[in-house]
Amino acid sequence: MVGSSSIKKRKNNNDNTSIVDKQNVVDNSKTNSTVKKISEKDLEVLKQFDLDMTFGPCTGIPRIDRYERALRHDLDPPTHVLELINLYPNDRQVTHCIWRDYTL
């Protein structure tokens, strides 16, 4: 009886979904602000900020740098973007642009 339950546990560990849960658990212990994952709607807002050409090129620099540049040149960037960047400071999906995984 004991043996079969331990096998079951091992099987659960091999399941792929548990890895994602483990990652979320690690995140929660490191930071207080990344309580939940960012919503799709907010990610879309960030993506539109990246693709908006009035604020200049987006590749290679963190979103906050681009936001600061937009402020410096009086281009009126949306404040919602700034709030999102500050809410998730450790989430690379938020801090860096949509081309973050591609090299120069």
């Binding site: 290679g60 600061e68 009086d74 700034l82």
Partner: protein, 525 residues
């Protein structure tokens, strides 16, 4: 958006010599305005690294940003971003170094050059808009390119790009078989098929009409007044650039004091100018022996000696020895070592009597990219021990008393000369001043560091003297701008060719050329 005072450096540059860091600290309490974001970034850097700051933060805390708190990128700032505004001097001929924006504290090459162009356009756009409104009827609308209507008179603001088929391109080179050059190196890349294109953030348009293509280069921010025709080309009626800021009113000095400029010693094993250098040093160290009263007066009242680059010859940079096997080259010393040694002896003698400023040039052992970082003081073992030796950046921005100087070692002029048909070097200097850009062709054809947060090559404060070293001959002119702006433009010749230095009188801002070709120095009329 409110502005605030800037905090100063928290990381000392690796290349800063002790003399230079001392003068930088004295220049630390700069008061003027600056964008709030950069201040916060440097403050954040202070929290993260535990290094003691080089100078205490003088200003008040920055005012809060609207809405959320800015959490700043924790990366090291690339550049010590501080205000380059003029500081009132404590005495009449005080030297104040304002070149901090050219010092690089961090090197990040993971970014593209597009950010530098975006920064340049963004920073200059409002100022160009203001000068466009002043120059042309304010009823003419200033438009963005996507709002253009056919045949409607309007004003566009953008950054210029010059399309040249003869410009050497790595893509063309790779496209040919075996990768050899399509054409031999030319003196000028100008061709009759060149086109000028005005670019904005998202669009570009070809320019034609009342604009001479050969007088322009890539990288100039300008406003054009005209209309779009049915072929999609913008026909230019008139154009303008950012207005020059009005420099501070100069109160003339009580006595005549002189600054000596020299450049292009081009020392190597095959140099023949050692005698002339000897005459130069003897004249400076023992001016009483000179017979000419005028030269004696000039040399004994010189307060500074500025060397504008190219201390050694470019042949000392040949890579033949580095391509050979190590056992063959073990006993050989690079010829640049010998050349730097002789330069050091020369500067040591000059440094005994006057302050000497050393700027790197294109041949010198500093980085190739603009802004060139100061030469390391270890290359000047004897002269760097003296407090009067200063190693500086290229370009170099400083003030002596109330007079503001700005200059380079000449690479910017040489590059513009390649890309345009402007014949006169002083005219190129004047154009750079009118375009408010020290080196507009950076980074297109002149290699430059990929800045993101600022463009240090924009001329925000009009200098009183604008110089460039390593030019074919001595030329000077006074540029008369609007609002009574007067700028002394100065082209300094190669010492290796002309054997002469330029003396600038600080009281009258007039220059004369002193030749050291013979043992007796002469003024060349």
């Amino acid at each position: 958006m409110s502005k605030s005072n800037k905090n100063q450096k928290s990381i000392t540059s690796f290349f800063k010599s002790p003399a230079q860091s001392a003068t930088n600290e004295s220049a630390a309490p700069k008061s003027k305005s600056s964008p709030i974001t950069e201040t916060k970034e440097i403050k954040n850097e202070n929290e993260i690294s535990k290094l003691p700051s080089a100078s205490p933060s003088p200003g008040p805390a920055p005012a809060p940003v609207p809405s959320a708190n800015l959490i700043l990128s924790p990366k090291k700032p690339t550049v010590v971003v501080c205000s380059s505004n003029q500081i009132p001097p404590t005495y009449e001929t005080e030297w104040i170094n304002l070149s901090d924006r050219f010092l690089l504290t961090n090197r990040n090459f993971d970014v593209q050059y597009a950010h530098l162009y975006a920064e340049r356009l963004g920073a200059m756009r409002k100022l160009v808009m203001k000068s466009a409104e002043n120059r042309w009827n304010s009823k003419i609308p200033i438009k963005k390119m996507n709002d253009l209507i056919l045949d409607e008179e309007c004003i566009l603001i953008g950054i210029l790009f010059k399309q040249m088929i003869l410009k050497p391109s790595i893509v063309k080179q790779l496209a040919t078989e075996h990768g050899f050059n399509l054409q031999p190196p030319r003196q000028r890349y100008v061709d009759s098929t060149d086109k000028l294109i005005l670019e904005e953030e998202s669009q570009r348009i070809v320019l034609d009409g009342n604009i001479d293509i050969n007088q322009f280069v890539t990288g100039i921010v300008m406003a054009v007044h005209g209309y779009e025709d049915d072929k999609g080309v913008f026909i230019v009626k008139d154009y303008c650039f950012k207005d020059l800021s009005i420099p501070k009113q100069l109160s003339p000095l009580k006595e005549d004091k002189f600054i000596l400029f020299a450049s292009g010693f081009l020392l190597s094993e095959t140099s023949i100018i050692f005698n002339q250098l000897e005459y130069l040093v003897n004249s400076l160290t023992q001016p009483t022996n000179i017979q000419s009263e005028q030269i004696k007066f000039i040399l004994s009242n010189s307060i500074r000696f500025i060397v504008a680059g190219n201390l050694i010859e470019s042949s000392t940079r040949l890579k033949d020895s580095t391509n050979q096997a190590k056992y063959l080259t073990r006993k050989m010393t690079a010829s640049s070592v010998e050349a730097m040694h002789s330069i050091d002896e020369l500067f040591d003698k000059i440094a005994t009597i006057t302050d000497i400023d050393i700027m790197p040039g294109v041949n010198d052992p500093s980085c190739h990219m603009l802004p060139q970082q100061p030469l390391h003081p270890c290359m000047f073992p004897s002269s760097s021990k003296r407090k009067t030796t200063h190693c500086l950046t290229n370009p170099y921005d400083f003030q002596i008393g109330d007079i503001r100087f700005l200059g380079t070692s000449g690479q910017n002029l040489d590059d513009i000369d390649l890309q345009s048909t402007i014949d006169n070097r002083v005219q190129i200097l004047e154009n750079c001043l009118k375009w408010c850009a020290i080196a507009p062709t950076c980074p297109d054809t002149l290699s430059c560091y990929p800045y993101v947060k600022n463009d240090p090559f924009i001329i925000n404060d009009t200098p009183n003297v604008f110089f460039a070293g390593n030019q074919p001959k001595f030329e000077t002119r006074v540029f008369q701008g609007s609002n009574d702006i007067q700028v002394r433009l100065l082209c300094i010749p190669y010492f290796a060719q002309s054997n002469s230095c330029i003396a600038l009188n600080l009281r009258t801002l007039e220059c004369c050329e002193i030749s050291f070709q013979n043992e007796i120095p002469q003024i060349i009329q």
